[in-house]
């Protein structure tokens, strides 16, 4: 590693530390993690998402086996938006799907639904 590179790394590092303490980055990072955590709580809540009634989620307690496991989501959906649409109303793609239309029927609010999607997208 050249001296120049080290110098730049050092400067970047210092800037990074400063920004992580005083600037926007930490807030953004924390918020995203919080949203995912919140989304998980909504997903697990029996009166809200209740995803586990039918879907397996790794490490989650007592999942049902009616619907596909929630895993490798990024390889199964082209985008977060596509996943959102699926949970909004699964009968669009498959009229025989038994999955409740979480968005269309207002089972979850749009903001709760978005949080659930943010969480499920990480699976």
């Amino acid at each position: 590693m050249t001296g120049k590179t080290k110098k730049w790394l050092g400067i970047t590092g210092v800037l990074g530390v400063i920004s992580s303490q005083f600037l926007i980055t930490p807030t953004l990072l924390a918020t995203e993690a919080d949203i995912i955590k919140e989304g998980e709580a909504i997903a697990f809540d029996r009166t809200k998402g209740n995803c586990l009634a039918c879907h397996y989620i790794d490490q989650a307690p007592s999942p049902g086996n009616i619907a596909p496991a929630l895993t490798a989501m990024k390889s199964r959906f082209s985008s977060k938006e596509a996943l959102y649409q699926q949970v909004w109303d699964a009968t669009v793609k498959n009229p025989e799907s038994a999955m409740p239309p979480f968005g269309k029927h207002g089972i979850l609010s749009k903001s709760d639904l978005q949080k659930v999607i943010d969480y499920v997208w990480t699976l």
């Binding site: 586990l52 007592s62 049902g64 009616i66 009968t91 009229p95 038994a98 409740p100 207002g106 089972i107």
Partner: protein, 279 residues
């Protein structure tokens, strides 16, 4: 309110499985319905479908058999027997209305051409009471379950044999209405009866095995641990509708009577084994 049946009734009736998509007559529906379950659960004896989820869930069955050693519905049978034997204020008894009683559960539900409606056993019992100057009993909870328990117990072993008389189109219509109810999605959660108990019968919902629709009517009234008492079939329908966040219909109203007519017909050939015990 916007998810009520009324709004959905006009929707094209789409059955997710071949059962009603191809079948046209009740006889064809019946064969398709029962074959569906026989194919899905090839190791279950047909008569064992009367035992609900316990026909397909060996662990649940062990617990249930233990419960059946001291049946929780027994006191209700005894109470019901005394109701059956105790004369009304006019000195008559239920026997007056039901000369072949008390083992009469196998005769219900049936189509009454004269009244133009499906007559269920609870309805017939209340008709008898009112004809004898007694107040009718409530249809979901309370003493009606005692007399129903007694009659069900005395009727054990009778074979479900609902008839859809061909000489009255209104009977066929009642059957078709019940069938439509069964396959129509309703409630905020958008489930039909068939979504869970036909399409996904035997699958696991959280920790519960979804019971097959075949045999659903044989064991009523039922002692449910969740209720801590015995309840009627229409109480159970009410609970199902609430669970999918739909507005329940009136117990013994036309919707549930027709649903009972269809659903019981689908179990034709199965032995009656009420009162039952369930979680």
């Amino acid at each position: 309110m916007k998810y009520l049946l009324h709004k959905m009734a006009f929707l094209v009736f789409t059955c997710s499985l071949a059962v009603s998509a191809q079948a046209t007559t009740p006889e064809e529906d019946l064969a398709a319905f029962q074959n569906f379950f026989k194919h899905r659960f090839p190791n279950v004896e047909t008569s064992d479908f009367s035992n609900g989820a316990y026909a397909i869930d060996p662990i649940g069955r062990e617990n249930w058999e233990a419960i059946e050693e001291f049946p929780p519905y027994e006191p209700f049978i005894d109470e019901g027997q005394s109701m059956w034997e105790t004369p009304f204020a006019n000195g008559k008894t239920y026997k007056e209305c039901f000369p072949e009683g008390p083992a009469i559960a196998g005769k219900y539900p049936h189509w009454s051409k004269q009244k133009g409606m499906v007559i269920t056993l609870p309805l017939a019992l209340n008709n008898c009471r009112e004809a004898n100057g007694e107040k009718p009993l409530k249809y979901k909870k309370g003493p009606i379950n005692n007399i129903l328990s007694y009659i069900a117990y005395e009727s054990r072993g009778q074979i479900t044999n609902v008839e859809i008389p061909s000489d009255d189109p209104a009977a066929l219509q009642a059957y078709e209405d019940g069938k439509k109810f069964y396959y129509t999605r309703r409630g905020q959660l958008n489930f039909s009866c068939a979504n869970c108990h036909l399409q996904n019968a035997g699958m696991i919902l959280r920790t519960e095995v979804l019971s097959p629709a075949l045999g659903h009517t044989t064991h009523f009234p039922v002692y449910r641990s969740k209720w801590g008492t015995v309840g009627t079939l229409h109480r159970r329908f009410t609970g199902c509708n609430k669970q999918v966040r739909a507005k329940p219909f009136k117990a013994q109203g036309e919707e549930y009577r027709n649903l009972e007519y269809f659903l019981t017909y689908m179990s034709n050939g199965l032995p009656l084994n009420g009162p039952g015990a369930r979680k």
